[in-house]
């Protein structure tokens, strides 16, 4: 039991040191992107909670509601990976503005797919 308590305190210490390191080393732009990522993650959790607790019927709405914020989160993480200065050796030939343009295209297509799916649901019912 003491082992588990020691382990738990250890983990807490690790989490604190991680948070300090994060605050110190991450540039401001990436912090803003991280907040957007956290926001979309909370959206996904909220959607799943809504599905479990309140209404299950239009399963299509649940699917669209999961994949759109999930997609937004993954696209933003990918953009963060590409423009992170730590990854310079892998992405040295890619300009940042090009990556942002591609990110916007992917986002647009994701929203178009979600809209088309909503149109499909309303036309079936």
């Amino acid at each position: 039991l003491r082992n588990i308590k020691q382990r738990f305190l250890e983990q807490e210490g690790i989490v604190h040191s991680f948070i300090e390191s994060y605050k110190a080393n991450t540039p401001h732009k990436l912090k803003m992107m991280d907040s957007f990522i956290a926001f979309t993650a909370i959206l996904v959790v909220l959607q799943i909670g809504y599905y479990m607790i309140i209404a299950r019927h239009p399963f299509e709405a649940f699917l669209a509601g999961i994949f759109t914020p999930l997609g937004a989160m993954l696209f933003t993480i990918s953009l963060r990976v590409i423009i992170n200065p730590d990854n310079r050796e892998e992405y040295n030939t890619k300009r940042a503005i090009q990556a942002v343009a591609e990110y916007l295209i992917a986002f647009l297509i994701m929203c178009l797919c979600a809209l088309n799916y909503m149109r499909q649901i309303t036309s079936f019912q």
Partner: protein, 757 residues
Amino acid sequence: AERETMLLQEMEPSDLYIFFTKVGKFMQTIAPIIKWLILALISLIAFSMRIFSVIRYESIIHEFDPWFNYRSTQYLTHEGFYNFFNWFDAESWYPLGRVVGGTVYPGIMSTAAIIHWTLKALLIPVDIRNVCVFLAPVFSAFTAISTYFLTKQVTKRSEAGLLGALFVALCPSYISRSVAGSYDNEAVAIFALVNTFYLWIKAADTGSILWAVACSFQYGYMVAAWGGYSFIINIIPIFVLATIYLGKFSKKVYVAYSVFYPLANMIAIQIPFVGFQAVKSSEHLASHGVFFVLQAYMVYLYLQDHLSKQQLKTMGITLIYVAGILCLFGFTTLMVLGITKWGGRSLTLLDPTYAKKYIPIVASVSEHQATTWSQYFFDLQGLMFFAPVGFWLCCKNVNNGKIFMGIYGILSIYFSCVMIRLLLVMAPAVCILAAIGASGVIRKVSKEIRVFFGPERDSSGQTKTKFPCEVSFAGLGVVFIMLVYYVLHSTYVSSEAYANPTVILSSRLPNGGKIIIDDYREAYYWLRMNTPPDTKIMSWWDYGYQLTGLANRTVLVDNNTWNNTHIATVGMAMSSPEPEAYEICKMLDVDYVLVIFGGYAYYSSDDISKFLWMVRIGGGVYPHIREVDYYGDHQYRTDAQASETMKNCLMYKLCYYRFGEVYTAHGQPAGYDTVRNAVIGKKDFKLEYFTEAFTSERWIVRIYKVNKRSNRYPGMKPRLGDYSETLKPTYEKFNAKFQRSNQNYQLTYFKPIQITY
């Protein structure tokens, strides 16, 4: 003297060598032009290799499934996309109908319709039938081009790419499913498959979001086109896991998969046929599982930048254990509880004996049988020898493309062993591996020859070749001869084996001339011209699509085989004695019965050959039909030793009606069945409830009309399904009254001819 003391001596280059180096430099300057020229020629070969049947017969849709695709495309071009996606087809699966909009892969029909409309808008009107017939050869040319790009991306060499394009253009197993006229899903799906793989490897190599978006678009097209898309959605996650395991994981692969996963699922959900299966079927579980594992792994890599080694170790181990156990537990629960379901065909892939035990319909399809060695050689020939070489070359100096090709090769070869129709998925893999192998061999050998003819010499005055020059020339010659034989084999196979439209048959006269046997279309057009438009036809499910396509009449069961009980009812009708079969026909409201009989024309794939499958499928639902009852003398036979059940069943009677009066083979008595090679068992019999309506020229298609019920007479016992429940008491009262008052009359005149059941 100075030259002799050098360890590495150089002799004067010979004139021949100078000439060849000059030629080489010139070729290098015009290499791009030659490359595109060769690619254009390969596309032309791919197209022209597939049009043998159009030249020999005519531009007609082949086989069975393409007729339904053609009919759907006609409907789409006339009615538009909205009506097509909401189409309820009342002309097939007669009392039930079929919701076509939700049960069809719309890729190929949409492609043909869009090409037809585009050509019309460009003022080049092409008939929809010709668009459908020639769609497959055109897309096979595109597949060859796409294979060139894929192989070039894997090996970074154009020579391997060109060889890959040539192999795919000529591969017999790909030709078999994409001849002109074979308007089936695989015609466009193989192009979509190769293109998806090319775009995926490009995305994983460059790590760009745009290539991953393009890959998910192409994957969406594949989902719209063919049910084999589940192969892609499993192989890409396996590739990601393999890169992690082999230590070749890079953030570019992460970006590619993270962008691909949500877009691919979102586009797959749009197709009505797939819909919820993107999250609810077990075939997609791998993609979800790998998604979670990938995110956990990425978090671990991210933490490496922020924590020290010791802290990372404790945190990382906890994280990975928690994530891994959650995944394993979650997915096993999902599968065991049955929340996600495996499709029947996928289960057959994992356990090849599954279909034979539980789903006789899946087991009865000839394309689902296990593959034989001769089939491999017939479909691949020389590629079989180069593919392992290519696979070995993929294991050296691995990059993303080579890992992917290795995985694709192994998985596709394994699945091709289970079912014949999956040889098609293996074809591009083997072609690409063989191209890598062949080009690798040619490069090594050419290098040896260059060194042999070159000016460099080692200390003893010999050239620095690894093996003697005769071996190099012999190797080059062997590779060249194998490739030439591959081309000859492909041409022979495409001309003789795969140019058969199945709707039209042909055979050779003793003097070498050709006769065309057009019985199918003769019979279908008889139906089209001589029966009312709302006629219902009962036949075995093989001919359903052709009947709705060519004869334009309503059928009971067709090749979609979505309702096993309905097919079993038709099987029961075919294997019952005549009175019971008549009652089933009346219950199903059938007007005509159609059977295929090959005993007169040496045509071996007729309904008597398929009859045991009808019995098995019928017996699976109606237990009173037992397969052993139809065996005479422990064997399936139709001659004098056939069992009584066999000789009395409807299929026997309809096929052999009046066959006992006909002489078929030289020196044999009347009624000699040329396919079963025996005289039939029961020759003179009359049909009581069916009338022969039409028999085609060589007796291949026989159509029978179902008689109306005979007239009633007083005192007749009530029959099944004769009257509605509301009239039943009235009729019984009437009967009882007549019976009481006319007993003597009945006893003297009607008793001998009274019909009982």
